[in-house]
Symmetry: D2
Subunit: 268 residues, 4 copies
């Protein structure tokens, strides 16, 4: 609506269905004049309906396994070909815990599953960054965002090993962000989003209690997927050029509330 | 340039001269279609040339001492009259330490000066918020920003008692932000800006060493006053509706760098 | 019981009655072989029974208004005379909000009250530090602790302006701690304690809901006044010589829990 | 010297040679009356002289690969047998990056190496915790500490992928600490130590610049391995029972200094 991203080219990882934050972000980026390719793992693509999104936003879809450096190299080459130049923005919205899926409690991990979840959820971000960096595929003042969750800082018991993966992810944003900033003038940040009723979110046990609690704690309530898309647009725009290495809390204020009046009254 | 603030009304505190962050913000808000009144303390107004800015941005100037509740009440009433409705955005860019001005070291404070600086730099923000809140002067989804500095979290020896004032200011943003969010759907945040060569910044002893060090540490270098104005515009826009109670680091990455390569090499 | 503080001399501010953290700390310091003077404001002393504590711990009581530099100067001189040398440890456990006492909501402050509470709760700590520093009254590797509360970082609605005072207090610990460390090898920290059923704590509206919520969130439950006394002893001992400028969370884990299982289940 | 750990039984991972933090900790724990078994990876044991330490402290050495759940199970069973009961304290001081060893820059990772380093440095801690938890091998009010480094929060360019591993490790301490606290009354914390001239530390490129910078920034200078041992003793003692889920900065104040006077003057 503002043409905030006119002339900018990007890659959006992780749009699955219309509840996905990545989906909403793609829609909003499109409205703001940005062009992009969509990508997801082949397996994830079969679950969702990404081709509808592609049609709607005039984007091409390039399947890629984000844990495969080879796939990422092809993706990034093709994206630059299709879009006609270097990349200005990237959204990494990828996360998955096999321990969660298999119902393993945090204190009863299967470490093969732990490794797989870590690889998909956290190392994939390093790989994306490393391939972009080595190929010199980002324009100066480009912006890279990965989605995170506050479990990286505080315990949410059912979030399981995804908490540790998000902590690793946020560290990668800082560590790689340093070199990307210094060498390429590119910023790297994570957005720590309210619990959101996406397909991934709903897979977490106790998700309803979780989301209701957060909503009652946050003075503005939980941020929606669309809110997150809007915020991500602002982080892709030229208005936020000097924000980097940050973990940006986008949560209606939840993170800085010790207890809300409403919650406290339940304990009186 | 994007019409991001079209239809929005605001109040901007603390524009002194063309180096001020508040000055740059006024210019950028004007470009984005926002309308506002400018205000500053009568004494500060004599030092600067705020009428040039007013002319350029079509704004009226209302002198007000931000430590005076009466002045603030008048200001806010008049602003709503002039602008034709409730307020959508407020920038608080006010800070002053008498101990710094008088050359008192942090370990040798004059406590009357300490109190005066605290009152001007920190309590003034509570007063602005309290008057806005009591008068129900903010529109829903309005945005209030105060400028802060990282000395609120870490020691910068020459920043003196302003560090403690900024810590108080940031706490006020959280504390009042909770009630403003819950009751009025208004967000309140602080932006923690790189050291900036404004009139206020330059008053700090050792400022040159300070700013050079920060610039060498930050992967993107120091954020300028104009960068800060752009970021503030994004925080006033509808893209960031669910960001509240936050202290937003706007510093080219400085805050999350332990040591940069360049700085480290000086110690090898 | 361990002779951890044998040969150490100190000053303990703020013991009111047997529920006070300062009271428990005095008892534990005495058990660990430390000697000290007790001090409190004359008004506070009339409310409590500090002379019982003095008797029990072999301490002298020196009344002092911690907002008065003159009183603090006398206190520190006398303490060194009585104890026979420079000071090794100091506990600052002082806090009071007139707005809380008068029932003023955070959004409806009387600013004279705000200032009084700030002066008593936060500036008093700077004054203690400044007098100690100027008189060179601390031994090398001495330890100074002030008690704080997590409202300095997150909103607890009824904690009112004490939140902002605690934020200021913690900043003073960092700011002054830098100079005290560099120049005198003295460490300065704050302990951020669980809500505790002291006289001061109980004055806070909604305290019961508050304390019950914290207890259900923290994996180890709330820390008691005695627990805090033990922790403070460790911070006064030679085991923690290199810990400085920190805000030490002492809360059974509360601060790093986003939600506990028990609390979440109330929302399912 | 204080008998602080009399009657307590523990396991100490990672003592290599007399510069190791784990080595110093073993010596100090022994002095404080604690008994323990020492353990290290078979490969690491060949490099060091752990048998000297064992002799000196009356400890038995049990080789174990901390990435092997089977080895850990045996270790913990044997430790309880040897020591005559459940465990009261555990020190995890294990870290290794293959990328660092092979000279791979952070932006040029070999992901097999990344995984190996993560497994040794971070997942090993989860495994230790999980085996202890499943075997119910810890006494109530036991204390588990892992050593970390501030690169988990801020960028130190040469620390490489160890930064991300430490972020994961600290997250594991929080995540598992929640369950260990709630279910077993055991506390879990990390100590974030100054850069220390251990065998591991010295392997980091640019280590000399690094350690000199930190020493000039910290008001008390860098904390030594012996200081860290003392602090760890305090964390194993009954004085700190309610401290859990924390990352404890032990760094002479470095973490909360934005810039020291000395460093700033180099930039003036």
């Amino acid at each position: 609506m503002y043409n905030l991203l006119k002339g900018k080219r990007g890659i959006i990882f992780g749009a699955l269905d219309e509840n996905s934050i990545a989906w909403k972000t793609a829609e909003r980026v499109h409205e703001e004049g940005g062009v992009f390719v969509l990508t997801n793992a082949p397996a994830a693509m079969r679950l969702g309906n990404i081709s509808d999104l592609a049609l709607k936003t005039g984007a091409q879809v390039i399947p890629a396994d984000a844990t495969s450096v080879t796939d990422l190299e092809k993706l990034i080459e093709q994206a630059m070909d299709i879009l006609g130049g270097k990349i200005d923005f990237v959204l990494h919205s990828i996360g998955m815990s096999v321990n969660v899926r298999k119902g393993n409690h945090y204190t009863n991990q299967n470490y093969d599953f732990t490794q797989k979840g870590w690889n998909v959820s956290a190392v994939s971000f390093h790989k994306v960054l490393q391939v972009l960096y080595k190929k010199d595929a980002m324009n100066e003042w480009g912006s890279i965002v990965a989605l995170s969750y506050m479990a990286a800082q505080r315990v949410f018991p059912d979030y399981n090993d995804m908490a540790d993966n998000k902590a690793f992810l946020e560290s990668v944003a800082r560590s790689f962000g340093y070199f990307f900033g210094r060498d390429k003038k590119v910023r790297v940040n994570t957005i720590s989003q309210s619990p959101t009723a996406t397909k991934a979110g709903q897979g977490v046990k106790g998700f309803n209690g979780f989301i209701a609690f957060a909503d009652k704690m946050a003075p503005l309530g939980n941020a929606s997927a669309l809110d997150c898309a809007n915020y991500t647009v602002s982080m892709f725009s030229d208005l936020t050029k000097m924000v980097t290495l940050q973990n940006l809390l986008h949560d209606g204020g939840f993170s800085n509330v010790g207890v809300s009046q409403e919650v406290m009254e339940m304990f009186e």
